[in-house]
Amino acid sequence: MENASREANVRVRLTSGPIASATPFVLSDSETALAGAVVTFQGRVRNREVDENEMKPILGLEYEVYEPMTSQELHRLADQYARKHDVIAVDVEHSFGFVGNGECSFLLQVATSHRRSAITFVDEFIDAMKSHVPIWKVPRWSMPDSTA
């Protein structure tokens, strides 16, 4: 297609605490001209987590990262899947530290020419992230610590 040999614009950012919902996804004019689909995925902290096969209420999640490996792996995977799916631009942002209930801990924004490639990118990139990128979460239970 018209965009086959383009280099994808990949940005990765680690953020202390929750990610603001209005984090901008800035495209250049030439990127905008081609971007027929822009997909945003937010991972948010829910109010419960599994503890020994049971859902228990939490205050939030404590995220740990291992720099510079976390950023390197996020960038490597984003770049790999961006090339595979002919992505125009992708922003990846992940929290470290404490993120409370209902707040955003992960934001993925991607622009492509066509819908299907944006959706497939999101799906495959997140699968890869969850099995390859060193990011850990530890629940902060809202009741007296049940795992101590």
Partner: protein, 94 residues
């Protein structure tokens, strides 16, 4: 895959392995310490040593990988004294 480091000087000493998240919580500290390790040590030789010294990790070590100097290391990679080693298990980004 090639050995992570080209240095293969033989020596004996302590090896620290960084540990994170639920695994760190489980053992109550953020690094595993093995003394009297004979360097270089292969990744697939190190894993049983970790389980031996930290039996609480035996349940999760099967889904863990070692990173050496911030890159995932193959089973036959060699770890040298001074390499930064991390146990990457029970990850859950997103």
């Amino acid at each position: 895959m090639q050995p992570v480091s080209s240095r293969t000087n033989r020596s004996t000493g302590e090896l620290q392995v960084l540990v994170f998240g639920p695994q760190a919580k489980l053992i109550g500290c953020d690094r595993l310490i093995l003394s009297d390790v004979n360097f270089p040590v292969r990744v697939d030789e190190l894993m049983p040593m970790l389980i031996h010294h930290y039996p609480d990790l035996s349940a999760s070590i099967g889904v863990s990988r070692l990173a050496v100097n911030h890159e995932f290391a193959a089973a036959d990679s060699l770890i040298n004294a001074g390499d930064e080693v991390a146990l990457v298990g029970l990850i859950s980004g997103g």
